[in-house]
């Protein structure tokens, strides 16, 4: 085969261009850590990455939702804890008032504290979170209880999507916690105790003791349910964190460059490029100096 000047130059140009191009691509992968920079680099991986990115975004959204509702859930649990503490104090006062040696004045004094505790309980029942009133159900803009303790909300649970399972209720029902939907109307029970204290009705006070106990249990149960919501959120967050890690691992597997492979490739191609330049110089020298 005849070897001409044009063939010699074309060969040099093609070889250098080819190795330079491969070296540039290997350098890009090594420096960015990304193997799939565009869909055509690996179409199957690109489609997988698109789906993984969407799933990962959904996981992030769920984690963000958990963070958003966690504050209200914690506040609900703390509020119900305070409410049950109110009944602990109410029971102490009721026991004290049930003592047959107490005078009417002393019972009136106890009643002042009982009335104050009812106000405190009303305030707790009307606690507000980031979404609005905690115990109003979906009626978040309306206080859960009027000054008399009448429930003004509904029993609609606040549901959010926090995983692949069914939406999760993250609120605690105000109706079940404070009024008859849960078995006892806690405000009415306080009112009964207060009325017995006001009329110095020792029998009534003794009778109210059981009601106070029942209301206390109702609030303790409600607090347990609120705690369960927090546990659910914690469990979901833990699962989502694991899912997130797995999704990132899969995305890494699908689209990331192996650092050892890419660095060694850059080194090998760098050496190839140096050799190609040296060979090119020799090839061009053959045709370039002192003919004949």
């Amino acid at each position: 085969m005849r070897i001409t000047e044009g063939m010699r130059y074309s060969e040099v140009l093609r070889n250098l261009s080819n190795i330079t191009s491969q070296h540039a691509e290997a350098s890009r992968q090594a420096s960015t850590g990304i193997r799939v920079g565009k869909p055509s680099d690996d179409p199957v991986a690109a489609a997988e990455l698109a789906r993984l990115r969407a799933s990962s975004s959904q996981t992030s959204a769920h984690l963000s939702t958990i963070n958003n509702v966690r504050g209200d859930a914690e506040l609900t649990e703390a509020t119900l804890s305070d409410a049950s503490d109110v009944f602990v104090r109410l029971k102490e006062l009721a026991l004290q008032a049930a003592n047959g040696g107490l005078t009417a004045d002393e019972r009136t004094t106890i009643n002042v504290e009982v009335t104050g505790l009812k106000d405190a309980l009303l305030q707790l029942g009307n606690a507000r979170g980031t979404r609005g009133y905690l115990f109003s159900g979906s009626q978040v803009a309306t206080s859960a209880f009027d000054p008399a303790g009448v429930f003004q909300g509904d029993d609609e649970a606040h549901v959010v999507p926090i995983g692949n399972s069914a939406p999760t209720a993250v609120s605690t029902s105000g109706a079940e916690s404070f009024v008859v939907a849960g078995g006892r109307n806690v405000f009415a029970d306080i009112d009964s105790l207060s009325a017995a204290l006001a009329t110095n009705d020792e029998t009534g006070i003794r009778a109210a003791l059981d009601s106070v106990d029942a209301s206390h249990k109702q609030l303790v149960n409600a607090r347990a349910r609120a705690g369960l919501v927090l546990s659910k959120l914690d469990a979901s967050q833990s699962v989502l964190d694991t899912v997130d890690t797995e999704q990132q691992r899969r995305a890494q597997q699908a689209g990331a460059a192996d650092p050892y492979e890419s660095y060694s490739r850059v080194t090998v191609l760098g050496q190839s490029l140096e050799r190609a330049i040296a060979v090119s110089r020799q090839l061009l020298d053959i045709g370039g100096t002192n003919r004949f």
Binding site: P43, R51, R131, E156, V160
Partner: protein, 463 residues
């Protein structure tokens, strides 16, 4: 038996022939880097006078070192590379629109929309969360519109490119026809016309990159050139390639004579060159991608609309759409906009499942967020359907890039073969220079010798 005078004439002929050889070698050296230059060889032969041998030499002509089969293969290879490179470049444009790997594409904006539904469910009566839903929906609509517009613009540009390429083809065809005429005239006058043939060959090489070209030598110095399966140049006449749109909006190629008569459609015959690449990219890839995008956006928009309409806004409204979606899928991506029902009115975002659960009900926001995992386009979820589009575009580009690599390697190989036959080797030319130089010197010595002999003869006779 020859005389001294005859020997002198022989030396004269030798000087002329070797000088011609030197001239040809010099011409080859001069054009060592000229694109399309075909090396020449001086053809020398003994001069005959009737049946007698004079022992002299004459220049029989000039030979262009070509191989017609290799030249044809080069034209084919250039056509294949022209089609593949154009196709690849245009697919790169499509691919860029769907490259979500940097997190700024349509898929990402759809993810943000679903995430905004999730965030809304956490705070259904929060104006900021509601505004975020509208912002994400608007962003999705604008992004899909931008991609659809970009694809439509690419399609328009490809039509203009095809028309520009046709003009270029027609100009080159006219130039080849003109060169055919000049070559025929030159050959009729006994000239070799090698330079003109080089020019014509250069035009053919350029033409082959635009359309599949086949050539036939007409035996009179002219070339019949077929482009896209139809005659483009015949002798001194050229025809016009016309590019316009068929009824379905696809490219239509026709070949017409200069007399303005109706052209013959050759659309299906064009199989190579830039023109074939443009047609494939425009009428298959851009068209199909735009269609898939339209179907995707149409399905997603309608699914979200149906769920949104089932819910209630803070203002008690229901039945409102989140998007304005076109009646049919064709053009849906370009037409998608945030619905006037909700634009600028965050309260109209339907987060609640019933009127009774306003304002804190999150049932419909949850249902909207749940659409993420609901099949809504061709039995696939939105993320899966979008991933299919991205994968499809990548697959197509990867296949064409692979074809381009293969065709380029074939082209390089064929060009190396052509260069081996037609290219200039400085080594060879230096040898030729030396050969003709020595022969020229020797012919000069013959002349000197004859001159001395004649001198001797004159001197002796004159005594």
């Amino acid at each position: 038996m020859g005389s001294l005078n005859q020997l002198m004439y022989t030396a004269r002929d030798a000087l002329a022939a070797q000088s011609y050889g030197l001239n040809v070698a010099g011409q080859n050296i001069t054009n060592v880097n000229t694109p399309g230059y075909v090396r020449r060889e001086a053809l020398l032969e003994t001069r005959a006078l009737g049946t007698a041998t004079t022992g002299s030499v004459t220049v029989a002509g000039l030979r262009r070192a070509t191989d017609v089969y290799i030249e044809r293969r080069e034209l084919n290879a250039l056509g294949s590379v022209g089609a593949a490179s154009t196709h690849d470049r245009e697919l790169a444009g499509i691919e860029a629109q769907f490259n979500d790997l940097d997190g700024t594409g349509l898929g990402s904006s759809l993810d943000s929309l679903f995430a905004s539904f999730s965030a809304l469910s956490a705070n259904p009566n929060d104006p900021t969360s509601r505004a975020a839903v509208l912002g994400a929906a608007d962003n999705f609509a604008q992004r899909s519109g931008a991609i659809a517009n970009s694809l439509a613009t690419q399609r328009d540009d490809l039509l203009k490119q095809a028309q520009g390429t046709a003009q270029d083809i027609n100009q080159r065809a006219a130039n080849i026809a003109a060169l055919n005429r000049r070559i025929q005239l030159a050959q009729a006058q006994g000239e070799d016309a090698a330079d003109l043939k080089d020019q014509r060959n250069n035009l053919l090489l350029g033409l082959a990159q635009m359309i599949d070209v086949h050539t036939i030598d007409d035996g009179k110095g002219g070339l019949v050139v077929q482009g896209g399966g139809a005659t483009l140049v015949e002798g001194v006449d050229s025809r016009n390639l016309i590019v316009d749109l068929a009824g379905d909006g696809s490219l239509r190629f026709s070949m017409a004579r200069d007399d303005g008569g109706a052209g013959t459609e050759i659309t299906q015959l064009v199989s190579g060159g830039k023109l074939a690449g443009i047609k494939e990219a425009r009428d298959v890839d851009v068209f199909e991608t735009a269609r898939k995008l339209d179907v995707f956006v149409f399905d997603v928009g309608n699914a979200i609309n149906a769920q949104h309409a089932a819910g209630f806004g803070l203002d008690g409204s229901t039945g409102r759409r989140l998007f304005d979606v076109s009646a049919v899928s064709t053009g849906a991506a370009r037409a998608l906009t945030l619905s006037a029902d909700v634009a600028g009115n965050p309260a109209a975002v339907a987060a609640s499942a019933t009127a009774a659960t306003l304002p804190g009900g999150s049932g419909n926001a949850v249902a909207l967020a749940d659409l993420f995992k609901t099949p809504m386009s061709g039995g696939r979820t939105a993320a899966e359907a979008y991933g299919d589009i991205v994968g499809g575009v990548g697959q197509r580009r990867a296949a064409v890039a692979q074809a381009l690599e293969t065709q380029s390697a074939i082209k390089d190989q064929v060009q190396a073969m052509r260069e081996s036959v037609s290219g200039v080797s400085l080594d060879e030319e230096m040898v030729s220079l030396t050969k003709f130089q020595r022969a020229y010197e020797a012919a000069g010595r013959v002349l000197t010798t004859v001159d001395q002999l004649l001198q001797d003869l004159i001197n002796r006779v004159g005594r």
